[in-house]
Symmetry: C2
Subunit: 134 residues, 2 copies
């Protein structure tokens, strides 16, 4: 699957474009839609697909490389690494909890029914338990 086919960038969202790319690709990487050994599009190719500048894509790739997801080299492009999960800091857990609560609060504020929120979270929890999301 080409990343550009499913990766959507919203220039009007307020969130920086490079962060949107990081978040979107990271979700694909975690879910296994990009497997280790695979080649990601070049910064220029993805930039063209998204209609942005290649330096913006490069910035996103750099973040993912620092997280250990990508091996990034000139002339070779970006390759997905076989990454091991690090051990979590206490902050990471607190952060997740806090941001989850804030995400839910925002959804409720936007009118998403509590039942729909609960259902989706139960879904995701189940997937995680099954190892479906790795």
């Amino acid at each position: 699957m080409r990343s550009s086919r499913t990766l959507r960038i919203d220039l009007a969202s307020g969130q920086p474009v490079y962060e949107q790319i990081v978040s979107g690709l990271r979700a694909f990487l975690v879910s296994g839609e990009f497997k280790s050994g695979e080649q990601l599009p070049t910064v220029r190719q993805l930039a063209i697909d998204l209609g942005i500048h290649h330096n913006t894509v490069a910035e996103a790739y750099r973040v993912l490389a620092e997280e250990g997801w990508l091996d990034l080299r000139r002339r070779r492009g970006a390759m997905v690494l076989d990454r091991r999960d690090p051990k979590a800091t206490p902050e990471a857990k607190q952060d997740f909890r806090k941001h989850l609560e804030e995400l839910i609060a925002k959804a409720i504020t936007n009118g998403v029914p509590r039942s729909a929120i609960a259902d989706r979270m139960a879904d995701m929890a189940k997937k995680l338990g099954q190892g479906g999301t790795r």
Copy 2:
């Protein structure tokens, strides 16, 4: 409960301070820690408590007022309104789903165990089902 006692602002987090205030207060509002009719601290008071400028707090209050959470008037301060949830747009649901996946991906990247993520989501789902979070 004073908002400033539990609201934490991280100047180094990268996220704009006024957004941190919005997210934090919104979570309190949704959870009922601030009930309708209650008075929030004045923009100047909260600014002092957080060690920032009052205009930054004012910006955050304005966002919450536009969302229907606050009645904001000169000389009267900010009062929590009895807010009804609007009906969700299809985008709101998609947004929630997408951001939830991205939040989970980030937590996993940071090393939070999948089991811990699943447990916390199950917790929150349960609370929502019970009406514990309103």
